[in-house]
């Protein structure tokens, strides 16, 4: 999809249709993914993302389009998700509570003007992650990729690789532990600093 990575706007500009499309192509997959994990519902997540962009289009003449624009989109998606959970009367009370508890985790990505989520979706993070995964023993990496990238269930991975499900689970657990240790917030900081200087 055609878009310019560094599209930004001065305050006084309004968004033209082609700029809107560019922004949409760039951010829609991120916003839709964000809403999907909060709501634990793919269709509802897509609907929320559509709403965010429809609102953005309606308010295109008055929106502040400075640096905070990116985090504004996520903030708007987050609050819509919370509304959605609270309004959804069909779900029982304790289902709402557990969704809201998990949502806090995702809200924390919006702190500091959305810096954490920006980093999460940056190429640097992806690269660091891939490099770290390369350090893993091959079998562990394979198991992890099948779950994480291909979205397979532990049971399916077990069948495919002909290993006990317990082994699959322990591979994933150990990978998470490894990543937790190695993907520290300071890694992010160093990466960001390096990118600024070179």
């Amino acid at each position: 999809m055609k878009y310019n990575r560094h599209t930004s706007f001065s305050d006084s500009q309004t968004i033209s249709q082609s700029q809107f499309e560019e922004l949409f192509c760039r951010f829609y997959p991120q916003i839709a993914a964000y809403a999907t994990v909060i709501l634990d519902d793919k269709t509802a997540g897509e609907d929320i993302a559509q709403e965010v962009f429809a609102y953005m289009w309606e308010k295109r003449n008055t929106l502040h389009q400075g640096d905070g624009f990116h985090s504004y989109l996520f903030q708007s998606a987050y609050s819509r998700c919370i509304d959605y959970i609270k309004k959804n009367k069909q779900s029982e009370k304790y289902a709402q509570e557990s969704l809201l508890q998990f949502a806090e985790e995702y809200q924390s990505y919006l702190e500091n003007d959305g810096q954490p989520i920006k980093e999460l979706f940056s190429k640097d993070f992806e690269e660091t992650l891939n490099k770290l995964l390369e350090e893993l023993p091959e079998a562990r990496r394979e198991v992890f990729n099948m779950v994480y990238r291909d979205g397979l269930k532990a049971k399916e991975v077990a069948e495919k690789l002909q290993m006990p499900q317990r082994t699959v689970e322990s591979h994933i657990y150990l990978t998470l532990k490894f990543l937790r240790k190695r993907l520290s917030p300071s890694d992010f900081l160093i990466l960001t600093l390096l990118c600024h200087f070179f």
């Binding site: 249709q17 949409f24 559509q50 322990s170 937790r180």
Partner: protein, 321 residues
């Protein structure tokens, strides 16, 4: 604490039931180590969801959905405003707005594959599929009209077009158009030489000039090269599978010498290959490799085809008789 780790794994890629979510929440609150691990899993879950979603086709579908939504909202919004005025004026205004929207709706979604990018597989809304090669561009209208489907190509693509008797499909280029019924074919538009190459795998296509006049009806297995400058067509019969296998991420060698194959392999796998037999170097083979295969797998198959032995030493490969 007895905890079922499959929950954490399930959380990474799928939905949890309410009880499972509660169980995971309890586990998360049990220790700070658990809560950190949960945090990591949440990040990966978000990133995984994003990676699975971040495809050209999904974004294109979502984009056309929002355009439709905006269009409907605009009409509703404007209509609401003008309802205060006389009905006649309202009618005129809404008609002209509608006309304006119709014009802007003609806009295209442009899908580009950069020189260093891999092939993109595009699902069109009518069920047709297009494999777009590197350094290529495909313009698709926001929505196909009921009676006519049209896309524009720069560069190279493989088309597998869904047959629809009531709706024709057309691929346009600055030099020549291809009119399609249900079929699969390969098309390369070369701007430097102003040439268009069409290879028909199955079905039927009709080549047309820019004015829409029929020039040539192609049969399967044929290749037609059209040169715009001198308005010249060259027709030949070709091995279509070899020439169109690129879209399956395969590289096909047809009657290639072992030296040619080896040179290509060293480029693909970034290794230095020493072919230590002059006699073998000029022998010719037909050989297909899949991009996903490892060097070792490829060499194994090659040593099956040709009377060779190989050994890999780091970045060096030695091939002997």
């Amino acid at each position: 604490m007895d905890f079922d780790f499959s929950l954490l794994i399930k959380y990474l890629s799928q939905s949890l039931s309410i009880t499972e979510r509660q169980e995971l929440e309890d586990w998360r609150n049990y220790s700070s180590e658990n809560s950190h691990l949960f945090s990591e899993a949440s990040k990966l879950r978000l990133l995984g969801e994003y990676t699975r979603r971040n495809t050209v086709s999904e974004t294109a579908v979502a984009l056309s959905r929002i355009q439709e939504k905006i269009r409907r909202r605009t009409i509703r919004h404007r209509l609401f405003r003008v309802s205060q005025y006389a009905a006649a004026i309202a009618l005129i205004i809404s008609l002209s707005i509608f006309g304006l929207i119709q014009l802007t709706a003609e806009k295209y979604t442009v899908i580009t594959v950069a020189e260093n990018e891999s092939i993109k597989k595009i699902h069109l809304s009518d069920g047709s599929m297009v494999w777009l090669s590197a350094s290529s561009e495909l313009s698709i209208p926001k929505s196909f009209s009921a009676s006519h489907r049209q896309v524009e190509l720069k560069g190279k693509a493989f088309f597998d077009i869904e047959k629809m008797p009531e709706s024709s499909f057309m691929v346009t280029s600055p030099y020549m158009n291809v009119k399609v019924t249900g079929t699969s074919f390969n098309l390369s538009v070369d701007d430097t030489n102003q040439q268009v190459e069409t290879i028909l795998v199955s079905g039927k296509v009709i080549l047309q000039d820019r004015q829409g006049k029929d020039i040539f009806a192609m049969s399967p297995g044929e290749k037609v090269i059209y040169t715009a400058q001198n308005n010249n067509y060259t027709i030949s019969t070709v091995d279509v599978n070899t020439l169109t296998s690129w879209h399956l991420n395969q590289i096909t060698f047809e009657k290639a010498t072992l030296r040619e194959i080896v040179n290509k392999l060293s480029l693909i796998y970034d290794v230095n290959i020493n072919l230590e037999s002059k006699k073998l170097a000029d022998r010719r083979y037909r050989y297909v490799i899949n991009r996903e295969e490892t060097l070792q797998e490829v060499l194994d198959i090659l040593s099956y085809l040709a009377p060779i032995h190989y050994r890999i030493e780091g970045n060096e490969v030695f091939i002997t008789e």
